[in-house]
Subunit: 253 residues, 2 copies
C-alpha cells in the first residue's frame, strides 16, 4: 500500500507512523509549510512537498489530516485520482469528498500530541465510505494498524465529536484549572496525578453516573459554600463551579 | 498496631483493608448502621458496633472516616483515649480534634469506590498532626501501606480538596454528560473509553495547559456553533459548553 499524507499535524504524524510500522509505504507528505512537511517526511523516509502540483496521483491511499475548513480546497487537487481518499475530521461531512472515485472518513477517536507516544491498538476508528469496496479497504487498513473500527455515519460522527469535547477537551481544561488553584497556593500539580488517573480508570469498568463522588452529589451545602469563598478572587472559576455543581445536583438529587 | 475504624464507607473500607494487609489489627468497626459496620467488620475479622459506649479505649489508632458534619459529635466519645485519633476529611480543620491527646489529619487524595479495587501505593496522603510525635506515627502508618505522604496544613488541604473537585468530581460528571449525549443517539459509552484514559495519561507527564486540544483552543468558531446547535434540546448542556469553551479561550487566546 502506497500512501500520501496531506497534512503533518498530530493526527497525520501518529497515523502515518502506525501505517509505516505496519509495513505500508508513505510516499509523500504535503504541508503548506515545507519545514513541517520535511520534519514528518524524514521520519517516514518519504518525499516532502508543499506544492500540490507535485502530488503523486498513483497512490493507493490519500490521508487528509488538516484543518477542517481547508479540506474542501485540497479535494480540488485530488480530482481524477483512482486511489482511496479519506479525511480524519470528526466534524466534517463525508460529502466534502463527493466527486472523487473512492472516498471515506477515517476518524480516530483519540487525542494525539506530537510529544507523546501512543499505542494505536484499541483506538476506535470511526469509518464511513462511499461504497462497500471502499469501506472494506478502510476496515483492512484500520485492522492492519491494530485499531478497532466502527461503522459511523456523518450525523453520528458529529455527535461523537461533540461528546469527545466534553470527555476530553473540557476535562483537560478542568485539570488545568485545578492546577491554577494549586499553583496560586504554591502546591504541586503532582499531588493530583494519581487522582486524575484513577478517575479515568474507574469509568473503564463502571458508568460515570454510578461512581460520582464529591460535595455536589452529597448536597454538602457547607462545603460548596466554603469552596465558593475560596474561589473569591475569580468570578470565572466561581461560575464554572456553580454551573457544574448545579448540573451534578440536577442529575443525582 | 491495634486500630478502631469509625465509619464504614468508601474511604474507611479501602484504608482498613490496606492496614490489615500491612499486618495491622482492626479491632472494631463502628457505624451508626450495624449492618454497614458488620459488612466491613467481617472482611477484617473485627468486631462490629453501633453503640459508642462499647468503643475500645485502648487502641493505638482511631480512624474517623464519616460525613464531615458528624465528626465533631464522634470526637466527644473519644475524650480520654491515649491513642492517635485521625480524621480523613479534606474539608475539615484539624481543630475539630482539639482536646484529645494525640491527633491529626490523614487525608488520602484519591477517589474511592467500594466496587473497585485500588492499589493504595503511590496515593498521596496529606498529613497534619498536633505534635511531631503524632506526625511521625502517621508518616510510618502511611509508609507501612506503601502510600506517599505530604505535610499539608489545614488551609492547604482545603485548597487541595477544592482542586480535587475540579480534577475528579467535575471531570467524572463531564464523562457522564458525554455519555448522555451519546446515549440520546444510541451510541455506546465504550467508544470514549480509550480517549478518556489517554486524556488522563497525557497529564501524567505534561502540564494540561500544554496539551489542550479541541475547537475552543483553536478558536474554531464554526464547529463551536455547530456543537451548540446539536445541544439545542438542553439549555443546561449549552450553558456548560459555553462556560467551559469561554474559559479555554480566555486561557489560550
Amino acid at each position: 500500500m502506497r500512501i500520501v499524507c496531506l497534512g503533518s499535524g498530530n493526527v497525520a504524524s501518529h497515523l502515518a507512523a502506525a501505517f509505516k510500522k505496519a509495513g505500508m509505504e508513505i510516499v509523500q507528505v504535503w504541508s503548506r509549510d515545507i519545514g513541517h512537511a520535511a520534519e514528518l517526511a524524514i521520519a517516514l523516509n518519504a518525499q516532502a512537498i508543499n506544492n500540490l502540483e507535485l502530488l503523486d496521483k498513483t497512490a493507493d491511499l490519500y490521508l487528509i489530516s488538516i484543518k477542517d475548513d481547508a479540506i474542501e480546497n485540497i479535494v480540488l487537487s485530488l480530482q481524477g485520482v483512482k486511489g482511496l481518499v479519506v479525511h480524519t475530521s470528526g466534524a466534517t461531512s463525508i460529502d466534502v469528498l463527493k466527486g472523487l472515485a473512492q472516498y471515506g472518513v477515517f476518524y480516530p477517536l483519540q487525542t494525539f500530541s506530537k510529544q507523546k507516544h501512543l499505542d494505536i491498538s484499541g483506538v476506535p476508528i470511526c469509518l464511513e465510505a462511499n461504497s462497500e469496496h471502499a469501506y472494506e479497504l478502510m476496515e483492512q487498513t484500520a485492522s492492519a494498524i491494530g485499531a478497532r473500527s466502527d461503522r459511523i455515519n456523518t450525523a453520528q460522527r458529529r455527535v461523537i465529536h461533540l461528546a469527545a469535547v466534553f470527555a476530553c477537551n473540557f476535562t483537560n481544561h478542568l485539570y488545568h484549572l485545578a492546577n491554577t488553584i494549586l499553583a496560586a497556593n504554591n502546591l504541586q500539580f503532582d499531588l493530583l496525578k494519581p487522582l486524575i488517573l484513577e478517575t479515568a480508570l474507574k469509568v473503564q469498568g463502571e458508568l460515570p453516573i454510578d461512581v460520582q463522588t464529591g460535595p455536589a452529589v452529597r448536597n454538602d451545602v457547607q462545603t460548596m459554600k466554603n469552596h465558593l469563598e475560596l474561589l473569591n478572587g475569580s468570578q470565572e472559576l466561581q461560575e464554572i463551579y456553580e454551573c457544574l455543581s448545579n448540573s451534578i445536583k440536577k442529575t443525582h438529587l
